[in-house]
Chain length 347, copies 2
DNA sequence: CTGAAAGCGCTTACAG
DNA sequence: CTGAAAGCGCTTACAG
């Protein structure tokens, strides 16, 4: 920058003003032109870290996700990236492996990098409350990151933390309705872990909607230990053992549904002739399964985008000044009907 | 830091020395203890950005990938993260969408953030040469980032840029051998785009190995326009039209194989009875396809890990001082035999 | 409209 | 072993 100043024959402070769109109005147009030219000739690039040190804003956002390897997250991350990009912010994503210790370390890493805000797609909600400093940290949640703005992604919290999540109730409603219309009356639910807001909300929605329709079957909800294929297999097996006459299974996510599919086949049950099966998320390749999986498509990219925008809004960093100050958003899903659901065969 | 200094009754320079493991040896143990205690009481955390400004090392690495949404990359990214983590560096990943303009913008973003080095998993190789400043930038590759160390991931370059890639020749050799052993003699290859080093290398390997075995069929290589399902369908259809009597297809990647599988089924060809099919990468869910796909498992995590280590090595930032200075690594794959390959039926 | 000065939070020769 | 000083590359009141 000193070089640019010298070449343009001005002070560095003028270079700074000239090059900053927000302040370039205050400097004479000819001067701006001279500075711009000098900076281009020199190939000058602003050191954004130095700027951050001075302005106390790093224009960086930290995002914690459990596992990048889970296909649910990449589209979300891309959405966040897109939103941040518009406001010239950078994203740092860190994996936490769903491990509370790693979550704390990751949080520290990211906070130490002076992020301006946090996006949490992470499981252990206790952390969030602690983060906000609103309650004494629950056991195991000792990290404090001094009032940094945070928005939860794909997770809700019991406190009043901002979030954007899929609309689980609406999504499950779509599934139950679809199954009802086909004529199913004995429907099971392979639920996700109860300590995830998503697993919990979907199970709750399942009970609510089947009950409302008068078709809730006691014992029809089996909770898997994790959102993965193996736990899906185990839960489905348990469910089938308990209620062999189920004609449809609603899984809390596609991986769980894949687990169900595999035990169903193993037991000689045909999908959808004997048992209809529905997933959640519409992850890649699920349309090439046999049969192609009926599932709920969640607007993952949008979720990320909205979450990014929301956080930027909290920072006063996005263009639209008087934009909606909505702080809790639930995005509706879309039912994608494929081949894994059909009318139950008459018995 | 000033607060810590005051509380410990020392100068900030002493605080700095005491808290830095590399220099804490030079300060009296009691002083260190006092400083550490003060910093803990105050919850002091080093501002790594300020440190970076002073030391001219951000301890940050930039990584460009075409598309995080492609399941191939997340494990690679995790590997990189793991390697960097050990040396206390942070990763910034940016998507380029395989678009040359976005690649340049991404590069700029990341370079502007003062990264110490670059990991490029990106397609447009021209850029790399330009990056290294070894040749006049090819048309369209105008970005210059002044001698930053770079290592290519999953890509090779014609220059002498460091890289870590899958060993495509070895992987394809595994496939061809497997097919040969089963008795196939008319094998087709659905190749990836020729302008990707991976697509190119695999096609080359396919020709070399089938030729060496005396079973190369002229016209048996059809190049897909991209590594995706639809292009795989198109290429497979073209291949089948031209050579209806193929008994096996080797696809340059799993997505391409999925495309093949779908046209094969559409045409009433059974896999593996009529046509055997092999993919590459072993992406998630490919084992739940019908039939489960035989494929080559690439050590993605390891690739990322090695690449990260290599770059750290170039920066002199990793623990092991005299470590191997290998600069071009090709990691062997493993053939995962599942149900999509079998002996050809006798005619 | 522009310059001189101070300062963001650190590290590191340089003295002592 | 420790302090005082300078400086990394910026921005921003404060004068003029």
């Amino acid at each position: 920058m000193a070089d640019v100043a010298r070449r343009a024959g001005v002070d560095t402070s003028t270079v700074s003003r000239a090059l900053n769109p927000r302040t370039s109005g205050r400097v004479r147009p000819e001067t701006v032109a001279r500075v711009v030219q000098a900076s281009e000739e020199l190939g000058y690039r602003l050191n954004v870290l130095a700027r951050g040190l001075r302005t106390q804003r790093s224009r960086t956002i930290g995002m914690l996700i459990p596992d990048l390897t889970n296909p649910f997250f990449p589209p979300v991350v891309r959405g966040v990236e897109a939103a941040l990009d518009e406001a010239d912010h950078t994203l740092i994503v860190v994996n936490t492996d769903d491990d509370i210790d790693r979550e704390e370390r990751s949080l520290r890493t990211v906070v130490d990098r002076q992020v301006d805000g946090l996006l949490l797609a992470t499981t252990h909600l206790g952390m969030v409350r602690s983060a906000q400093g609103r309650t004494p940290p629950p056991a195991g949640a000792t990290v404090d990151f001094g009032g940094l703005p945070v928005v939860l992604v794909n997770r809700r919290s019991d406190g009043d933390v901002a979030h954007v999540t899929p609309d689980d109730h609406q999504g499950i409603a779509l599934v139950v309705e679809h199954l009802l219309e086909l004529g199913h009356e004995r429907i099971g639910h392979v639920a996700g872990p109860a300590d995830t807001s998503t697993g919990h909300a979907r199970a709750e929605a399942f009970e609510a909607h089947t009950t409302a329709a008068g078709v809730f079957v006691p014992g029809s909800v089996e909770t898997a230990s994790a959102f993965a294929v193996e736990p899906g297999r185990a839960a489905c097996a348990a469910l089938l053992d308990r209620l062999p006459d189920l004609t449809a299974i609603c899984a809390a996510n596609d991986l769980l549904a894949v687990g169900c599919l595999s035990v169903l086949k193993e037991r000689g049950l045909r999908v959808p002739e004997d048992v209809s099966l529905v997933g959640f998320n519409d992850m890649p390749l699920v349309d090439f399964l046999e049969p192609a999986l009926t599932t709920v498509q969640v607007p993952q990219y949008d979720m990320g985008f909205r979450a990014g925008q929301m956080l930027l809004g909290m920072l006063g960093a996005n263009g639209d000044s008087g934009g909606s100050a909505e702080t809790r958003v639930e995005l509706p899903g879309r039912l994608i009907v494929r081949r894994s659901t059909a009318e139950p065969v008459a018995t």
